[in-house]
Symmetry: C2
Subunit: 150 residues, 2 copies
Amino acid sequence: MDRIDRRLLNLMQRDASRTNVDLADEVGLSPSSCLRRTQRLRKSGVIDRIVAILNPAKAGRVIKALVAVELKLHGEQHMRRFLDIAIAEEAVSHAYAVTGETDVVLMLRLRDMEEFDSLCERLFRDQTNVARFFTMMIIRTAKEETAIRL
Amino acid sequence: MDRIDRRLLNLMQRDASRTNVDLADEVGLSPSSCLRRTQRLRKSGVIDRIVAILNPAKAGRVIKALVAVELKLHGEQHMRRFLDIAIAEEAVSHAYAVTGETDVVLMLRLRDMEEFDSLCERLFRDQTNVARFFTMMIIRTAKEETAIRL
DNA sequence: GGGTATTTGCAATAAAATTGCACGGAACTG
DNA sequence: CAGTTCCGTGCAATTTTATTGCAAATACCC
C-alpha cells in the first residue's frame, strides 16, 4: 500500500467508472501495471465493492430521518433482536448500536410520512422492547460522503 | 423508467463492476440496448455516480461516532456557518441539519481518539456557536446500505 | 554484493464498449 | 383504419479496453 495505491483509491472512491487506461495515465503507470494494482486492492478487501449511487430524490426516497432509540431491556440478546428487526426494514439504511443516552440510532430513507407511520408501528411497539424514541427529521443534507480520504 | 430499468438499478447498486454484457444477459436484453439504458440512467441523473466503497477498517478509519450538536444561535446564517466548518473536516462523513432537541447531527470516521479530541477542539469551541454536544460512539454497525431498493 | 522476490512495461490476445443501421411495435393523427 | 412518427431493440462492424505471458528493471534481504 504505497502512494500510488492511495492515489488510485482516492480516484476510484470519487469515480469508479473511469477506465483502467484512464486511471493508469493519471497516476503515471502502464495500463497493465495499474490493472494489477486495482485487482490486488479488490482481492485484499481494501476495496469492498463498487456500486452505483442513486440520486435519492429521483429514486423516490425524498424524506430522511434519524431516530435515536432507547430500549427497555439492555442485554446483548435484546439489543440484537431489536437490530435484527430494524435492519430487515427497507427504509432503514443505517443501524448502529451506540453509547450515550440512547442505545440505537437508525437512519431512515422514506417515500412519504405514511411510510414513517407504518414503520414506527412495526419497530416501536411494545413487543420490540423500545422504551422511548426521538425522531430527528433531516432538514438539510450538508454532506454525505462515502469516500475515505487517503 | 420501466421494470427493466429498475432491475438494472438494483443490480448496479449492488455491484457496478459487472460488465454491460453480463448485465444485459441477466435482464434479457442485447448488450447494445442494455448499454443505452444504463447510459440514459446516468445522463438523466438517476445514477448520481459510480464509486468504490472501501473497507473502513482496512483503510485506517476504525472508530465511528455520531455527534448531536445544539447551537447557541439558531438563525439560518449561523446554521450555515457551522455546517460549512463541519463539512470541511475530513473526519466528518455526514452532516445534517435536523429537527428535534438538537440542531445538527454529524457522523465521524476517526483514525483514533486523538483525532476525535482535536476535532472537538476545532468544531465545538466558543467561536463555532455550539451550546452543547452529545457524543454517541458507535459500538456496532448493524447496517450501512447505500442502495435504494426499487 | 549476491540472490530472491516483486513490480514494471511491452506486446499479443481476448473481451467489452460503442456506433451505424434497419426492423418492429406503440402512440398519435387525420 | 391507414399513414406517420417516435422510440426501443437487435445485429454487425469498429473501436476501445481488459487481460495475460514474458523479459527487464527495481526493491529487498541477508
